[in-house]
Symmetry: C2
Subunit: 228 residues, 2 copies
Amino acid sequence: MNSAIIVAAGKGTRMGPNVDKLFLEVAGRPVVAHTWQRFNDAKCITEIVIVVRDGRQSAFVELATRYNLTKAHRFVAGGVERQDSVWNGLEALSPGAEIVAIQDAARPATSEALVAATIAAARETGAAVAARVVTDTIKESADGKLITRTVDRSRLWSVQTPQTFRVEVIRRALGEVRRRGLLVTDDTAACELIGQPVQLVAAVEPNPKVTVPGDLAYIETLLRQPQP
Amino acid sequence: MNSAIIVAAGKGTRMGPNVDKLFLEVAGRPVVAHTWQRFNDAKCITEIVIVVRDGRQSAFVELATRYNLTKAHRFVAGGVERQDSVWNGLEALSPGAEIVAIQDAARPATSEALVAATIAAARETGAAVAARVVTDTIKESADGKLITRTVDRSRLWSVQTPQTFRVEVIRRALGEVRRRGLLVTDDTAACELIGQPVQLVAAVEPNPKVTVPGDLAYIETLLRQPQP
């Protein structure tokens, strides 16, 4: 059985103070309602765990009603760091969950095909992540003012979500992170720690994250396009 | 005096075979006509050299008429590599040119404020480039299939255009590249070769490049927004 965890507990300060970016309206509904809808409609997903900030659960219950999001779902409270929120999500999975796709709530345009591709890869190798080759020229700067060197971009990938795992693999990886008291940038970094290889799954369609206000116009355009 | 070189001689194969991405219509006119218009209207720019592919000059002459692009401009033919095209552009500058802003023709949303900021920085230090801090999580992969390691993104910048220089600096830098028979990814990499520091100028507004078909909807949205 394949489960999804939608991580919706972050604060996301780059959107401005007191702005909950997950509830910004884009293409007619809040950002997080798009994300949830995609996983609600995805045939490859059986249940959804949504990790929310304390006190925000009622707003999510309302979304389920308003947008008819009827696939089996439950809510858990987020932790201090993103990795704690994911951990809480893992604790809330059904006992039958074999594969889990972990999704940023702020990534509302993820396609079902991409979710399914990461599930197939994770079933085979244990861990997989949606990613895109870096096409920009990348420079390194030690001080943020002068270029220190040109980075060889031919080996670089920009990673997205879903980040998808066999449930026992990500439990073991994040368990190790917690035991050692580490902070990881994303769930695949936890896998690196236990020597678990992570497979890259090339995202063909754009799969952007809402980060700064300038992202919204683009994402609006994307979400209004008909889905395949 | 500040000049601009618009590099419009590339083939850009990622858009599909036999597609000249510079002449794709977006927001009511060809991509390159937007780029040219921005430099035509920029008060900080006195003359424009446009580097075109052999045989394409008449299409550009037509653009000038159709969109009333009346600022002093001339055309030169491109070379085999991008760096050869830039070299040809440098050869065509007026003798009075002190600063040159080198621009990808496929970057149609560059703001006048950004051009002016790179000019001011280049005047001070010799070389400057529009850039954006990398906000995505970046992974390295040796084979394009498995993640090899997580890259520390805190020092990484994605560079754009304009790349702007004192004319004598970029002449010396690219001259060295040519003498040594090297191939560089961009004009600032040539500066690294002669020990010329390059200053990063943070691009506040989005400044995307048309690369793949999926970019067009976003760029359409951007170009239809009123300019400040």
